[in-house]
Each structure stands twice: as C-alpha cells, then as structure tokens.
Symmetry: C2
Subunit: 79 residues, 2 copies
C-alpha cells in the first residue's frame, strides 16, 4: 500500500530556506506572500496489506530515517 509522509521543521525552528523563498517571491512582485516554510514530502510504496500496518510502518520509518525528531515533526497519510 501507499503512504505519504510530510516532514516539516517544528514551528519554533527557524527556516532560512523558507525565508529565502519569501524574500525571492516578494522581490519578483508577490507582495502578498507573508511566510513560506519548506518541508519534505515522501511517497512510500510498502508491501503491507492493511491501512493500520501501512501507517505504523511509515511512522516507524519516518521516526528512524526520514525525520530528525529533535527539530522536525511529521505527518503520515495512508492512500
């Protein structure tokens, strides 16, 4: 089954990449852009058969390899 994992910096962590994108957008005329935060997105194709098993395996993988729990948080979505 397929799972999607979204990894984002925790709100308290400064995001210089997002800040650069915000500045770039404002400089090319998008004055309405107030803030941008960049994260990572993963599509996992897993050999699991139930949504529960898929979610638990994806969360396990996110914890161990995809996200750094000190500064990042993640969200898992089973499709």
């Amino acid at each position: 089954m397929k799972a999607r994992v979204y990894v984002t910096l925790k709100p308290s962590v400064f995001d210089p990449q997002g800040k650069t994108i915000t500045d770039a957008l404002q400089s090319i005329g998008y004055a309405g852009v107030e803030d941008v935060r960049q994260g990572k997105y993963f599509e996992l194709e897993l050999a699991t058969t139930t949504p529960e098993a898929t979610r638990s395996m994806a969360a396990d993988i996110a914890d161990k390899l995809l996200a750094n729990p000190v500064i990042e948080s993640y969200r898992v979505e089973v499709v």
Copy 2:
C-alpha cells in the same frame, strides 16, 4: 490564508534520492519497502481572503518558482 504546495518529480523522471532512501531502508531491515519517491512540500501564508484567490496565487507561485514544470508536477491544497 494558508496554502500547501506539494511538488513531486513526474512519474517518468528517475529519482536517485528516493532510490537511495529505498536502498537504505532495505539495508536496515525494512524489506517491505518497495519504492520511495521524494518531493518538496511548501506551506505558504498568503494575504488573500478567498480560497479561490489563495489557490490561484499558490498555483501561480508554484509554476514560477517552486516547481520546474519540465520535470516536476505540483498539487495545491488550500487550508
């Protein structure tokens, strides 16, 4: 309003980063991982007032700056 933009490589484009993650996961014991594709994820805070305006501005920004339309596709979600 807030918009989320998900940028992924088109299915026909090879994703070496995803392949590396797949291999890494299999080597640490996750044999059930068949495929991983990595993408980018953006949270935009826009000074718009309607969902339609938010979606159209986010799509415009994704087209111009966040995604490379030659090899990537994107999806916009208004929250």
